[in-house]
C-alpha cells in the first residue's frame, strides 16, 4: 500500500468548515459592493423570432433605470464553437433567449423596467428536436449553418480533434463476430445537474477597457480566457472566484451571465450584479446535451467486442460552446470501455430551438454510454453473456491504448481495474443475483427486482495545464497561489495537505490565495476529475521547487550541499545528522522564496467507476425503487476519506442515477417552453427516500504524482443511468431504451 503519510489519507476538517456552518462562507450573492446596480434580462416568449424593433423609452423613463441595452447598442461580440452566437442578437432562438438587458437601482425597478420594454417580433417556425432539425427544408437557426448541423471538432483540442471513430475494417469486424446486434437508444431527457446556487456575476468597470468579474464559476482563469475572446480581445478581464454553491461541471462556463454584467457595467460605469433566478437557471443556463445512438455492434461468444458502427446524434440546443468537446471526450471514453480495433462511429452535432447545452459532469461520455449500452445489451443477450464479463473483457488494460480527445494515440500506462470490478461485484452479490437477460432476480407478487451494472472511465484526470506558485514564509509557513474556487469537492483543503507533505510543515501553516487571476498563475479549473492529478501535480511541483530553493539557501550555513539536506517541522538539517540544523528563519524576513509548478496534460491513465444497481418495480403502479447501489473504484491513494465518500455517494444526485429514474427537463413540443423549470415540478429525491449506497474503494498506487493518487468525482454519476435501464429491463422482462424509467413507460412496456 506504499508508505504512510503524515497528512494524506487522514480525515481532516475542511478549512472552510467554520465558515460554512455559520453562514459566513462568501458565495457571490453574499458579497457587498458600493454603488451596486442590479441587472436583469428581458427574455423572449418565442422559440424562434426576428426582432423587428425594440421600444426602450418606457423603461428608460422609469426613475432608477440606468441602462437599457439591446443588440443595436453593443459591438458584434460572439461566443460559441464556431463563434456564431452573438451576445445579443436581432434574432431569438429559444424561449428565454435574451432580447434586452436592464440595469437599475434595485431588483424591483429592473423587473418593472423589463415589463416596459416593447419588443416587436416576427415569429418564425421552430425545430424542437433532432428529427425536426434535420428534416430537409427545416427552418434554419443560423443562415450560414446548413441543415442545422454544427461543424465538428473544436480548435482547443487541436486540428485532429475527435469527430468520430473510424478505423480498422468493419467487414472483418462483423465476420469475426459470433453475434451482431443493431438498435437505437437515446439519453434525451436532459436531466439537470441543478446546483442550488443559481449562476450569476458582478462586474466592476474600469475605463477605458477593463472589467473585474466576480463569478459563480469554479474556473475563474478560464472565464478570463473565454471572456477575452467573447469580447473580441478588446477588453481586459480580471476574474475572481469564491465559494461556489455547487456546479457539477455546469458552472465551468458562465459566459453569458458574466457578459451581461460586463455590458451593463460598461454602459453605466457602475458595478452591476446579474443573478439568475431559479427559473432562469433552469430555462436559460446551459443544459445537458441530448444524445441518440444508432449502432451495429459485433460480439464474440467470449465477450470481445469486434467492432462498432453507427451514428451518434447530439442535440446541442440553440448553440454550442463545449458540445464538440463533449463529443470528442465521449468518443474517447467509449474507447476506454470498448477496446476494439474496428470502428465506424460517426457523429453529428445538431442545433435546435431549445436552450443551449453545455458542460455537465459526465461530459459527453455519460450521454454516449447511456445510449450505447442499451444497444450493446441486445448483443449480450443474443450471445448469452453476463454484462460484468463483457465489461471485464473490454475495459482498457495495460497493453491497451486509445485515441484521446485530441486525436492522438495514447498507450495506456494505468492499472488493471479487474480487481475493482470483482470486488464491487462481490460486495453487491452480482453472481447470486444475475439470472440472465430480461430475467428478474426475484419476483414477489407484483414486485419484481432486477439488477444492472454500468461502468465509466475517463483519461481527462490528466487534462489541460495547471500552474501554481508556492511562497515560503521565514517562520515555517507557506502560501499557495492557485486559481481554484471551492465548489464542494474540498480540494482547497486538500492542496495544502499535498504541499505539507513535501515541505514537512503542517497544513494549518499553509495559506491559499483567493482565486484571482491578477494574483495567481494559469489554472484550467476543477473538471474531468483533474483536481487530484493535474492540479495536485502543479501544487506538488511548486512545493518541491520552493523546497529546493530553501535548501540551497541553507546549504552554506550548514556547510553541506543542498542535496544532503532535508527539512521537517520548520528545521533544515543534514540528512543523518539531525543535530546539524537551522531554522527556516535562516531565510530572513527580507527574502521571498517562490516555487513554481506546472503540469502538462497527460492522457495515458484513466479512472474507473462502476455502479451496480438493484431496482424493485411495482408492476401495478410502474414505480421503480432502488433496493441497493454498490459503487466500486480504485483511486490510487485516498487523500481525503470523508470528502471522497461524499463524492461517491453523489452517484444518484445531480442527474446521475436519478436522471434515469425520474429526472427530466420537459419541453412543450408545441411552444418550446420548459414546463418544469422550478423545484416544485422538477423531480428530486428528498431525505426520506435516500437509497442504500455502499462504496468499495481500492488503493492500487498509480504512476501519477509522488502520492500515486488520481481523481474520480466527475464520473461518479456516469455509469448509473445505463445500470438503471438494464436493471429495469431485467426486472420487467421487456427492453427499455428510453430515459427516465417513469411509471408510464414501465406500464406501457408491460402492456406491449
Amino acid at each position: 500500500m506504499g508508505r504512510d503519510y503524515r497528512y494524506i489519507g487522514k480525515p481532516a476538517k475542511r478549512r472552510d468548515g467554520g465558515q460554512i456552518v455559520t453562514g459566513s462562507a462568501p458565495f457571490l450573492d453574499d458579497l457587498r459592493f458600493p454603488n451596486l446596480l442590479y441587472g436583469k434580462v428581458l427574455r423572449s416568449p418565442h422559440a424562434h423570432a426576428r426582432i423587428l424593433s425594440v421600444d426602450k423609452s418606457g423603461a428608460e423613463a422609469l426613475p432608477g433605470v440606468r441602462a437599457v441595452v439591446t443588440w443595436e447598442d453593443i459591438p458584434d461580440w460572439r461566443g460559441g464553437t464556431p463563434r456564431n452566437v452573438r451576445v445579443l442578437d436581432k434574432k431569438v432562438r429559444y424561449v428565454g433567449d435574451a432580447a434586452a438587458l436592464v440595469a437599475a437601482e434595485s431588483d424591483a425597478i429592473a423587473e418593472e423596467a423589463l415589463r416596459r420594454i416593447k419588443v416587436e417580433y416576427e415569429v418564425l417556425p421552430a425545430v424542437f428536436d433532432i428529427d425536426a432539425a434535420l428534416e430537409p427544408g427545416a427552418p434554419l437557426l443560423y443562415e450560414d449553418l446548413p441543415n442545422n448541423i454544427l461543424p465538428g471538432g473544436t480548435p482547443i483540442y487541436g486540428p485532429k480533434c475527435l469527430k468520430g471513430l473510424v478505423r480498422g475494417d468493419m467487414e472483418q469486424a462483423f465476420a469475426e463476430a459470433d453475434v451482431i446486434c443493431e438498435g437505437s437508444a437515446g439519453f434525451e431527457n436532459i436531466p439537470n445537474a441543478l446546483p442550488p446556487e443559481p449562476p450569476g456575476a458582478v462586474a466592476v468597470w474600469e475605463p477605458p477597457d477593463r472589467a473585474t468579474v466576480y463569478g459563480t464559476s469554479q474556473a475563474p482563469y478560464m472565464d478570463k480566457v473565454s471572456l477575452y475572446h467573447v469580447f473580441n480581445r478588446e477588453l481586459d478581464i480580471r476574474c475572481i472566484g469564491h465559494h461556489v454553491g455547487g456546479s457539477f461541471g455546469t458552472k465551468i462556463m458562465c459566459w453569458q451571465v458574466q457578459t451581461y454584467a460586463v455590458i451593463l457595467a460598461r454602459a453605466t460605469g457602475r458595478p452591476v450584479k446579474v443573478m439568475f433566478s431559479k427559473e432562469e437557471h433552469m430555462t436559460s443556463f446551459t443544459l445537458r446535451v441530448g444524445s441518440r445512438v444508432q449502432a451495429k455492434i459485433g460480439l464474440k461468444k467470449d465477450g470481445t467486442i469486434t467492432g462498432i458502427q453507427g451514428m451518434w446524434l447530439v442535440d446541442s440546443g440553440y448553440y454550442s460552446f463545449t458540445t464538440q468537446c463533449q463529443v470528442a471526450v465521449g468518443l474517447a471514453e467509449l474507447e476506454l470501455f470498448a477496446q476494439c480495433p474496428h470502428w465506424d462511429l460517426k457523429t453529428s452535432v445538431v442545433v435546435t430551438n431549445r436552450n443551449a447545452s453545455g458542460a455537465t459532469r459526465g461530459f459527453g461520455g455519460q450521454e454516449l454510454n447511456s445510449s450505447f449500452i442499451p444497444v450493446l445489451s441486445l448483443g449480450m443477450e443474443k450471445a448469452g453473456l453476463d454484462p460484468l464479463e463483457v465489461i471485464k473483457k473490454n475495459f482498457v488494460k495495460p497493453g491497451g491504448g486509445y485515441f484521446w480527445r485530441n486525436g492522438e494515440w495514447y498507450d495506456y500506462r494505468g492499472i488493471d481495474f479487474t480487481k475493482t470490478m470483482d470486488r464491487g461485484a462481490e460486495r453487491f452479490g452480482w453472481k447470486e443475483k444475475w439470472k440472465g437477460w430480461l430475467r428478474p432476480t426475484t419476483v414477489d407478487g407484483r414486485r419484481r427486482r432486477g439488477i444492472g451494472v454500468g461502468i465509466h472511465g475517463n483519461a481527462d484526470i490528466g487534462e489541460d495545464t495547471a500552474e501554481a506558485y508556492i511562497q515560503l514564509g521565514y517562520q515555517a509557513s507557506a502560501t499557495i497561489f492557485l486559481c481554484a474556487a471551492e465548489h464542494g469537492t474540498g480540494q482547497k483543503s486538500n492542496y495544502p495537505k499535498l504541499a505539507a507533505e513535501v515541505l514537512g510543515i503542517p497544513p494549518e501553516r499553509i495559506a491559499m490565495t483567493p482565486a484571482d487571476t491578477l494574483v495567481t498563475p494559469f489554472e484550467f479549473g476543477p473538471v474531468g476529475s483533474r483536481g487530484t492529478y493535474a492540479i495536485g501535480s502543479a501544487v506538488i511541483r511548486a512545493a518541491e521547487d520552493a523546497r529546493e530553493k530553501l535548501l540551497e539557501i541553507a546549504a552554506p550555513r550548514l556547510g553541506a550541499p543542498a542535496g544532503d539536506l532535508d527539512t521537517a517541522d520548520g528545521m533544515i538539517f543534514v540528512k543523518n545528522r539531525p543535530d546539524k540544523k537551522v531554522r527556516w528563519s535562516v531565510l530572513g524576513n527580507d527574502r521571498t522564496i517562490l516555487g513554481y509548478g506546472r503540469f502538462e496534460q497527460d492522457f495515458t491513465m484513466c479512472n474507473c467507476f462502476l455502479s451496480f444497481v438493484e431496482l424493485e418495480i411495482d408492476t401495478e403502479t410502474g414505480k421503480s425503487e432502488i433496493v441497493k447501489i454498490v459503487n466500486a473504484t480504485d483511486i490510487g491513494r485516498i487523500i481525503d476519506p470523508p470528502g471522497l465518500q461524499g463524492q461517491l455517494n453523489a452517484c444518484w444526485g445531480s442527474a446521475g442515477i436519478d436522471g434515469a429514474l425520474m429526472e427530466e427537463t420537459i419541453l412543450d413540443p408545441d411552444t418550446g417552453n420548459i414546463l418544469n423549470a422550478n423545484l416544485v415540478d422538477y423531480p428530486w429525491r428528498p431525505f426520506p427516500e435516500i437509497p442504500d449506497v455502499e462504496n468499495v474503494i481500492l488503493e492500487t498506487p498509480f504512476p501519477s504524482h509522488r502520492f500515486h493518487a488520481i481523481g474520480i468525482a466527475e464520473i461518479t454519476n456516469a455509469p448509473g443511468p445505463a445500470a438503471v435501464l438494464m436493471a429495469a429491463s431485467n426486472a420487467i422482462g421487456r427492453w427499455l431504451f428510453q430515459y427516465p424509467v417513469t411509471p408510464d413507460r414501465i406500464l406501457k412496456a408491460l402492456e406491449d
Partner: protein, 166 residues
C-alpha cells in the same frame, strides 16, 4: 391585512425596528423575510435558491419553528422572534452550537450552500424533539434540497447531537 408601517422583530436575540419606506433600515410591503434578513440586515448566512419554498435553503427559525423565509413577508413578522444561522452560536462565549460543530466533525456538507438551511431545520427539530429517531430526522429534512448528496453525513451529524441529547 391591516396596513402597517412599523415592524418590530427580535433577530438573533436583538430587538430590531423597521419602518416602511425606501432606504437603509427600511422595509417595503413586498419584502420577503429572506430579503430583509439578507439585504436590509446584512445576515447573508440565510441562502436563497428556489425562491418558491421548495428547497429549504432559506430556512430560519421563527418562534421555535422552522420556516421558509422566502415565502414570508416581513410585514407579517411583527412581534416575532427569529433566529438565523448567524444566531446559533452562544452569544456570550462565541462557542458553536453543538449541531454546527457536529456538521464540521462529520463533514456534513460539500458545497455548503444548502447547509445553513439544513442546520436550521435540524435545530428546530431537536428543540421540539431532542431525541428523534432516524425517520423523524429524515421527515423533518424532507424539504431541504441538497444536490451534492451530503444526506448520509448530515444524518450522522444530526444523530450524533440527538444521541448526546443536546
Amino acid at each position: 391585512m391591516p396596513s402597517r408601517n412599523t415592524v418590530r422583530l427580535i433577530v438573533n436575540g436583538k430587538p430590531c425596528e423597521l419602518h416602511e419606506g425606501a432606504g437603509a433600515g427600511c422595509f417595503s410591503h413586498s419584502d420577503s423575510l429572506a430579503y430583509t434578513l439578507r439585504e436590509t440586515l446584512g445576515l447573508t448566512g440565510t441562502k436563497l435558491s428556489c425562491g418558491q419554498g421548495a428547497c429549504g435553503a432559506c430556512t430560519v427559525i421563527m418562534d421555535r419553528k422552522a420556516v421558509l423565509s422566502c415565502l414570508i413577508l416581513t410585514v407579517e413578522c411583527d412581534g416575532r422572534e427569529i433566529t438565523t444561522i448567524e444566531g446559533l452560536r452562544n452569544p456570550e462565549t462565541g462557542e458553536l452550537d453543538p449541531l454546527q460543530q457536529a456538521f464540521i466533525d462529520h463533514r456534513a456538507f460539500q458545497c455548503g450552500y444548502c447547509t445553513p438551511g439544513i442546520i436550521m431545520t435540524s435545530r428546530a427539530l431537536l428543540d421540539a424533539n431532542p431525541h428523534p429517531n432516524e425517520e423523524e430526522i429524515k421527515e423533518a429534512l424532507s424539504g431541504n434540497f441538497c444536490r451534492c448528496v451530503s444526506h448520509y453525513h448530515v444524518l450522522e451529524a444530526v444523530r450524533s447531537v440527538a444521541e448526546e441529547g443536546a
